[in-house]
Symmetry: C2
Subunit: 264 residues, 2 copies
């Protein structure tokens, strides 16, 4: 039940790891490991068992060394997490998003594509949900991604601040939405019960206390969605629905800007 939470390490140390020169001519014994190997092992463990399962001892064990020898390569667990973060943001960097036309027309497709990439990244690496995004240590991949998302809303007559607000809105929404999907998957894995099995064991408990007269709308909607989803929620469907509504809302804003020629 316990899990690690973000935090990040010392920014200076992390920046050195993320951008530093690949020093090689050393004096002592040959290093058994590299930072990259350690980071890969740590990502694998976190993917499988969450940040809760990620410990220096486990990473070390998987690599055939003791926990303390990792501190030769990495200042501490916080800095390791910083490097893990930037590493997974490098997985889906495309050299260029193909600019179909001039740029203004296809904003919706561009944002939809980037947001789906973010969704999938969270699905591949659910521990990202636990990593604080405030004051991030900007590695090369995080930086490139930030630029890429801003480029997607360039040329729409939005101010720079509005561009930032739009990509923040999408980032916030996708984080909230993917959380439902990840938690549902984890609940199934953790308990070994499907949503349906869980519900059929939980429903009798609820029936003993639920007062359909006090909560008539919840009773009706819960009934309908339960039959439709065959579960309490359908996170993938919620994401598709929500994404379209959010893009619609962004469209309303863009319309008023382009509309400076339309509406006087």
């Amino acid at each position: 039940m316990t899990t690690e939470y973000s935090g990040t390490g010392d920014p200076k140390r992390s920046m050195e790891l993320l951008w530093g020169v690949p020093d090689r001519p050393r004096r002592g014994p040959k290093p058994k490991l590299t930072v990259a190997r350690i980071v890969q092992a740590a990502i694998g463990i976190a993917d499988a068992d969450g940040l809760a399962g990620l410990s220096m001892r486990r990473v070390a064990e998987q690599l055939g060394v003791t926990a303390m020898s990792l501190y030769t390569y990495v200042p501490g667990k916080g800095e390791l997490l910083d490097v893990m973060l930037d590493t997974v943001y490098g997985e889906d960097l495309t050299p260029d998003p193909p600019p179909a036309d001039g740029g203004a027309a296809d904003w919706r497709a561009r944002l939809e594509r980037l947001t789906r990439q973010n969704y999938e990244r969270y699905r591949r690496h659910p521990w990202l949900l636990q990593v604080a995004s405030s004051r991030p240590v900007l590695g090369p991949n995080l930086m490139a991604r930030w630029n890429q998302e801003l480029v997607a809303v360039e040329g729409l007559d939005l101010t720079d601040v509005e561009m930032d607000l739009v990509i923040t809105l999408l980032a916030d929404y996708v984080h909230g939405a993917v959380r439902g999907a990840v938690e549902a998957a984890q609940a199934e894995q953790r308990t070994g019960m499907t949503d349906e099995q869980w519900w059929s064991s939980y429903a009798p408990l609820l029936e003993q206390v639920f007062d359909a007269e006090r909560f008539p709308v919840a009773a009706r909607v819960g009934q309908t969605t339960g039959e439709e989803y065959q579960a309490a929620t359908d996170p993938a469907r919620s994401f598709e629905f929500g994404l379209q509504r959010v893009l619609d809302g962004i469209g309303v804003l863009i319309q008023t800007r382009v509309g400076s020629a339309d509406r006087t």
Copy 2:
């Protein structure tokens, strides 16, 4: 850096705590405590120091007993968290949202009000961000809140499933958005540095590696937002902006429904 994460306890035990009769005639020595007192102490600790700071030992210490004596009242930490959750949802239950007109016209004000309440609840109790919402143990307050939110989107010609999707969208968005605000506040508290102080220590590190020619849009927008926000982000402003866009998007959907009379 370590923090607790959701999980919830045994549903049956938790439901008994949440809905059970307040049994009192006992045989043995007078109990020093009540479940309610334990829950209040636990909420206070979690508010101050996060789920990371919440331990059975600390709760017990604050109440003047040992950790193990808490297990007389509560089956375990998971169930305690379930009760904490339902308790804080009881803070802002209004007996009735005042129905100004028939109901259909003021959907936007109703949803805005409920979403702001959710935002404020997360601000008061940031540890809620760490509590899994999948398969929640439905206490009386959680249940009432769910019903209340559904009532707010009743009568808009939406299907039951769409009603569920709309309130899920808002719940997902507010979760994602408030996270930025909470993390910014926690970063300041944890490091003892304001965003501005942090930035002035971080900027030199970044300048050494940042290539403005590779990331021209990020360079320009980062400059503008930095001056406008006097920080890297402005979470409160992001939330206001995003909330209006999301409500606009929901409005587009509602328009097409009401528009079954308007657009043929």
